[in-house]
């Protein structure tokens, strides 16, 4: 069974997934960060594939992506760095990025490589569900990869139901109309959206991403969903405190405590 499904079977909430940009702050910190995250108690890791034009990202991840590219990160190098990752960690690993580098890599080759190194899912915000179903699904399924779809407060109920039908693994709930970036708390309106989706009783679990940054925002989303994805706030920690396992542990503990 795919590790993502297994995670949701064994953990019934308060799931914490952490995003970081591969190649940031230094080009060879990828495996080290993943190991530290598992040791610190993260349930899942999203490895960002840096892209030159990350239109869904706010300033923090734009900067980490640019720095990672300047450091020489690429899809080829990332797969090389992940070659032995499954000897080191057991938690589900996803790749998150933009469609163009994947298309350029070759979709079949990309999915093959993912399976080879032990990737469980892929998040490509600019790959629309209808195109995924027609052009990409076969490749993903052949290589036991889940494609994770996004929904937002503006996504209609009908479309959410369709996306729920297409999804396996989990649904990525974008917290509000925004690009990525840390927020201190969610508004009543945001919470109302979490609650509205929760009442829809979808087949898939939902994780909230974009804006979750600390204990408060994590608790707010956990009241209604299976957990959260933290990106920008963690990238900021890497920037300020480096990749040491101690500061990573402190960060996770502060959110979970």
């Amino acid at each position: 069974m795919n590790r993502i499904n297994k995670l949701f079977q064994t953990h019934k909430g308060r799931i914490l997934s952490i995003y970081f940009t591969a190649g940031y702050p230094t080009v060879d910190s990828t495996a080290e960060i993943i190991r530290a995250l598992e040791a610190a108690g993260a349930d899942m890791v999203e490895i960002g594939m840096p892209f030159s034009d990350p239109v869904a990202d706010g300033p923090v991840i734009q900067n980490s992506s640019q720095q990672a590219l300047n450091n020489g990160m690429s899809a080829k190098l990332l797969f090389r760095q992940l070659e032995n990752i499954r000897e080191q960690v057991n938690i589900p690993l996803l790749l998150m990025g933009y469609l163009n580098p994947v298309v350029h890599f070759g979709i079949n080759e990309f999915c093959m490589k993912c399976e080879e190194v032990g990737i469980d899912g892929v998040i490509l915000p600019d790959l629309p569900p209808d195109i995924y179903m027609v052009e990409y699904r076969d490749f993903f399924e052949k290589h036991n990869l889940h494609n994770i779809f996004l929904i937002t407060p503006q996504t209609s109920e009908g479309r959410i139901r369709t996306i729920d039908k297409y999804s396996d693994g989990f649904i990525y709930m974008v917290s509000s109309a925004s690009t990525t970036g840390a927020r201190d708390s969610f508004s009543a309106k945001d919470v109302e959206y979490f609650s509205r989706i929760s009442k829809m009783k979808l087949n898939n679990n939902c994780l909230v991403g974009f804006g979750v940054s600390n204990k408060k925002t994590f608790s707010q989303v956990c009241d209604y969903t299976s957990g959260a994805i933290i990106g920008s706030a963690f990238v900021n920690i890497l920037k300020e405190k480096g990749t040491g396992s101690k500061s990573i542990k402190n960060f996770i503990d502060a959110i979970r405590k």
């Binding site: 030159s52 239109v55 869904a56 899809a75 163009n100 580098p101 195109i131 996504t155 109309a177």
Partner: protein, 396 residues
Amino acid sequence: MDYNVNERGYYDEFGGAFVPEMMYPNIEELRENYLKILNDQSFKDEFSLLLRDYVGRPSPLYYARRLSEFYNTRIYLKREDLNHTGAHKINNTVGQILIAKRLGKRRIIAETGAGQHGVATATVCALMGLKCIVFMGKVDVERQKPNVLRMKMLGADVVPVTKGNMTLKDATNEAFRYWINNPVDTHYIVGSVVGPHPYPDLVARLQSVISEEMKWQLEEHTGRPDPDFIIACVGGGSNAAGSFYHYLDNEKVKLIAVEAAGKGIDSGESAATIALGYPGIIHGSKTILMQNDDGQITEPYSISAGLDYPGIGPLHAWLDKSKRASYENATDTETLEAAFQLTRLEGIIPALESAHALAVLGKHKFKKDDVVVVTISGRGDKDMVSYIKYMEEKNF
């Protein structure tokens, strides 16, 4: 061969709408409504009245006698430079602002390179009393100063973008991000035949007035509606799309699109997408784009801010692949020479973008009685700093 967009938003294999879910409701709203609005009689009446009385259409088709003598053929200039605000860009913004109003939007955003699209957007926003925010790369803010000042005078907020190469691609990224963060009430007036479906088709239709007029104007001048050649510059490709539109199915009319070669195709400083690019996805569209081995979009370069873009509209990707149009390019130097040639032979100072189209005239062997239409997409006022620098270098 079919050159129209299909129901799924594709020109054969190119096009589509590769947008994050955050943008989907806005794109979908536009997709559902744009044809209905364009075909609505009240829209048609309002649009054509504004094009006539506000933009100053039809734009003249001018027989360039001395330029024709020089190249020993018959050259006609489609004078989009004479439009209000100085370029073809206003055809599109007038149309889109009417659509935005019908969709109940209160705020307009736009990206701009040369500043012509920004000025054209700020202008129609002033005309309709809508709030206007224009994203512009910081490099372009500096090299197109007069247009920045015009936008400000027109009441627009100009946001300098300091990311990446600080040119058109980066300005477009920022406009996308703004729209993601402000999905309600805002319409994004894309300035060329780029972006997710329906933008390429919408903008091509709004610019198609160029070739619609060309037909009857040529008939008046020459006795037949069809030229032998149409030449236009391409950044994203909207003035070329408008110039080609009504001739696409008439394969006797040869279509030539001219990209910016910058310092030369092999110099590493170029914006000639068709010459240097590969298929991929840029700004929500599957098309040809300049990218490296890792699929990272590369930074383009051109002396002309309006052509300084690493992608090209999906229609053009298809016209190239199907060989319906030929994609050529001109370097900065060839372009400057062509601009001065037009100025000295005809008394017309073209925009640097438009001068790229003129720069290939000498590379073709036209027959004496060939009818060659060159679209002068804009006027050169905004480029005076570059032109003066060139004059100083050449001791004119």
